[in-house]
Amino acid sequence: MSKPRNNYWLAPVLVIAGVVLVGMAFLLGFVNPVEAAIQLPPEQGPDNTDCLSCHQNPDQTMLFPSREELSITILPAIYGGSAHKNLACQSCHTDISGYPHPENNVELYRYYALQYQDTCKNCHPNQYVEIQDSVHSNLFEQGNLNAPICSDCHDPHSQPVTAKDAEGKPAYTEHAAIANTCGDCHSGIYNQYRQSVHGEGVFVNKNPDVPSCTDCHGVHTIVDPTTAQFRLSSPNMCGDCHTDETIMGKYGLSTDVLSTYVADFHGTTVTLFQKQEPDQMVNMPVCYDCHGIHDIRRSDDPEYGLQIQDNLLVTCQKCHPDATANFPASWLSHYIPSKEKYPLVYYVELVYKILIPTVLGAMVLYVLTDIYRKVMNRRKVKPALVAEVVQQSQPQEAQVPPDVPETPETTEEKAKEE
């Protein structure tokens, strides 16, 4: 009787255990969805010879009714260097199984590209999730069909595997390629960025420390940079690198930039809004209002640097149009006041650092002597309380007439009584 019963509960438990185990395997990364999708053993390579027999020929094109002409030549040398080299053509081009290909009467190249919009998520589900709230996906959902989809940034036939750093972000060796990709559409920003201190580091010096587009905007989760949230949290974004002693030390840059900003009027306001009203657009400046968004220059840049007071004045006047030559010096330029830098501020602070303890210390000392007197007076009274009262009541009633002032002696005793 009891054995079959055991079997009844065993089955669902096993199913649940199986599901949990598979789920955990996914979570722990045992099963990589990208690899799972590859159906062909890598050493053998995909059998794309049939497709390539035509498509490796040069000048293969496809003409859309719009008269757009799409190159459909796939050079094995380029495809073989791509991240997808081990994928069969059919993995993505699922509708094509032979020749002649099924008819595709799409009018525009863009519509043709959009047909493959959801193909990538079969192998890259995480990235597909990441793009859902991105500014590009939002634009697309608003009906802008030119908003980028996966293949606009990642050419599926040619893009090699992206090198990653220890944190899983694109390695610095990819920085130039990333900027070039974004620059395909954002050409104005691209040109500004190339001239900036960061862009110069990426394109000229191959510097691993400078940010490319994705370091500030995110890789796939690219948020709208015009929102209040982005603006209010941006000082922390810049601060991520600019408060890092190991990075900034190399270039002799101050890591006090964030704390000095927050200590000042502008930064205090921005920080408070970020914490209390993150959706409220605030016109107080954040880092990029003074230093530039994409055209950030060195602060000692001879032409644009903010160390040059005239440049700083122009920057101040963006918000304070009436500001005159002395005005920029009212901002401490991220310095902590010292004898050399902003001595007036330093000495005012010093004077108060001496004045406050001196004045308050003197007050406390006086108050302590007064408390001491009160305690002592009370102590004296207690043991001889009865005697004192008797002694006191007699002279008061007997000797002091109503309208004559009390003698010092009697007041003295009264004080003691207290």
């Binding site: 293969q60 094109t61 859309f64 009714p65 719009s66 008269r67 757009e68 002409e69 799409l70 030549t73 380029i78 009018e107 525009l108 190249y109 863009r110 959009l114 009906g143 802008n144 069909l145 030119n146 050419d155 559409c185 954002h186 104005g188 920003i189 408070l272 809004f273 016109n283 963006k318 918000c319 304070h320 149009p321 009436d322 500001a323 005159t324 002395n326 920029p328 010096a329 009212s330 901002w331 006041p337 902003y342 007036l344 005012v348 108060y352 004045l355 406050i356 004045v359 406390v364 006086y366 108050v367 002597t369 001491y372 007197r373 109503p402 002032p405 009390e406 007041t411 009264k414 004080a415």
Partner: protein, 334 residues
């Protein structure tokens, strides 16, 4: 009435109201100011939120500042009347006697003296407070003006004065608030609750302790002596017009103070156009509707190495289609 129970008039109703206004404006200034100075602390942020955010905290601080300064203007006029019209004794002026009284009180407290010094209408603890308040009024008023109107200030003074004023304003505030908490609260509340600013009177005992000198004067009938009525009337006719002019000048100055410059309070938003992203979409930017003859213009061989790139040179003006066609419809068509 027994002598010990006699009450001595100390502050008029007007003085008590003045003091109440000072309490309210000073406390508001201290509270809304210190939470701005220490804005990163949790308590400050909770209070700022309670007051409706940092912007409204700043507005409250400025309103309180104006009330504080108005109170000061009133005070100066009243003091002027008492000193120059009524020719009362300037009992608040500090002198050598106050130093002696201070030393005497310490001596009494530590047991070097048997009796307290006989102090006047305003003893040295009160004079310290009054003149500290005067010093604070001038310093906080000046530095406050500089912080309120930084552009006007830097038209005259070097820029460094603004952060220096900010440091002085904040540190002076700490000094003032702590001084009130230590000195004023101890002397009139903790040591013994002093009712004179509420009920207006002090008992004989209290007078004896703190204003024995004044008590002696009262007994001699010398206290609160004012000039003959005829003289007062004569001088009042001069004083009142002067006071009115003074008040008007002060009111005008305060009005200027409040409205002097706009941009420090409500800055101009940075222009959006300047930094707007510049897009150049490489694909669908058709310029004109190509005619049927333009078919011949299709460029072959556009694809040297650029797999999948599109020749954007020639295609039909289908921008309207792109912009309008809903995605669903598009997909079914596809």
């Amino acid at each position: 009435m027994a002598h010990a129970e006699k009450q001595y008039h100390r502050f008029s109703v007007a003085q008590r109201i003045e003091h109440l206004v000072l309490i309210l404006s000073f406390s508001t200034l201290g509270l809304t100011g210190l939470i701005q100075k220490y804005a990163q602390s949790g308590i400050s942020q909770a209070l700022i939120q309670f007051l409706g955010g940092i912007e409204s905290t700043r507005i409250i601080h400025r309103v309180a500042a104006v009330i504080f300064v108005l109170g000061a203007v009133y005070h100066f006029i009243v003091v002027g009347y008492k000193l120059f019209v009524e020719r009362r004794k300037a009992t608040m002026l500090p002198g050598i006697k106050d130093v002696k009284d201070g030393i005497g009180m310490i001596g009494y407290n530590v047991g070097l003296r048997k009796d307290r010094p006989r102090m006047g209408r305003y003893n040295f603890t009160e004079k310290v407070e009054y003149w500290a308040m005067m010093w604070g009024l001038v310093l906080m008023g000046l530095t406050g003006f500089m912080l309120w109107n930084p552009i006007a200030t830097t038209n005259i003074l070097p820029g460094q004065f603004i952060p220096a004023a900010k440091v002085a304003h904040g540190m002076e505030a700490v000094l003032a608030v702590l001084a009130i908490l230590i000195w004023h609260f101890y002397n009139v509340h903790i040591k013994k609750w002093n009712w004179s600013m509420i009920k207006g009177k002090l008992s004989h005992e209290e007078m004896e302790e703190e204003h024995a000198g004044e008590l002696d004067e009262i007994e001699r009938g010398e206290a609160g002596r004012i000039a003959p009525l005829a003289d007062i009337r004569k001088r009042r006719n001069i004083f009142i017009p002067l006071a009115v002019v003074f008040a008007l000048v002060c009111l005008f100055a305060i009005y200027q103070f409040v409205t002097y410059e706009e941009t420090a309070l409500t800055t101009i938003a940075p222009s959006a156009s300047e930094d707007a992203p510049v897009f150049s979409v490489p694909t669908a930017v058709p310029e004109a509707l190509p005619s049927s003859e333009s078919n011949g213009n299709v460029q072959p061989g556009f694809h040297d190495g650029d797999i999948g790139k599109v020749n954007p040179g020639n295609f039909r003006d289908d921008l309207s289609l792109l912009a309008i066609a809903p995605l669903g419809e598009l997909m079914t068509r596809v």
